[in-house]
């Protein structure tokens, strides 16, 4: 038997790594388990550590609520949108083809009608004023 594997070392390992032998240092596990098999005192020490672990495991914690889960996921990163998707979303927000398209068409028709049928005299009436102003300038003797 490994001389390092004694009860004191077993107690030390149990305190540092717990009663689950799978968590013990690889290099010592086999020797310590052999010690436990051979020594009733060592077996009692391990049994005591296992009982403590079992008692601790009786302390079941309340599981997180579904509301907490939802709140966390509500703030999770959202998928990145392409420009086309963003444009489509903007178009849909305006009412899509059923509302926005007729509105744009109506605005276009109104603008065209204004251009065609609007009174050009309004613009022409402004011309003499501009000429008058230009004639006040001494840099232009022709006027």
């Amino acid at each position: 038997m490994d001389p390092q594997a004694n009860i004191d070392r077993l107690r030390d390992v149990l305190e540092r790594h717990g009663a689950d032998a799978a968590r013990w240092p690889d290099g010592e596990r086999a020797a310590l388990l052999a010690l436990v098999s051979a020594s009733p005192d060592a077996a009692a020490v391990l049994d005591d550590a296992r009982r403590l672990a079992r008692v601790l495991d009786d302390d079941a914690m309340a599981a997180p609520s579904t509301a907490l889960r939802r709140a966390i996921l509500a703030r999770a990163p959202q998928p990145r949108r392409s420009f086309a998707a963003a444009l489509a979303e903007f178009w849909a927000a305006l009412g899509g083809a059923r509302i926005a398209a007729p509105a744009f068409a109506l605005a276009l028709a109104f603008g065209a009608a204004l251009g065609v049928y609007g009174d050009p005299a309004v613009a022409d009436d402004e011309q003499p004023d501009l000429v008058d102003v230009a004639q006040l300038a001494t840099d232009y003797p022709d006027f």
Partner: protein
Amino acid sequence: MTTTARDDPDAELVLRAGAGDQAACSQLVDRWLAPVHRLAQRVLGNAADADEVAQDTFLRVWEHASRWKPDAKFSTWLFRVAHNLCMDRLRARRRGDDTLLDTLGDETTVAREAERAATAASVREAVAALPARQRMALSLCHFEELGNIEAAGVMDISVEALESLLGRARRALRSSLATLVDEADAAR
């Protein structure tokens, strides 16, 4: 840390979550919310504080996910964030001269505990009576089953220091729970 980030089963999930993959976000939450919440509950002593720590921890995850660099194992980083948030709260309580620092918490929690099985309440009381760092070490290693090296990384202390905390915690619990441990012997 012995477990390399390359072997980290969560690394890909984190990157997908960062790109807005909702399924990946859900998987991360399903996998890690309960452990983070349990850790915070044990360290802080009540579920309400644990809720806030869990939420803040995942907010940090969402903030960092898109630029996650797998230098460390995700779970180590996650528990480290939770650990730091718990310690911040404990420090805030101390600044507020909260004498319940190492006890169960508020009256609601105590009342709730009273409704639970006597054994579980005794265990929780004993764990809560441990100094915060011992409680954290025990929660990480015993309850959340982290390896000692990883838990030391989470707490940013040496493995030797972590094992010292674990040893003191287990000795204290063996003493404070002696009756229960002996009864467990008789019952099983």
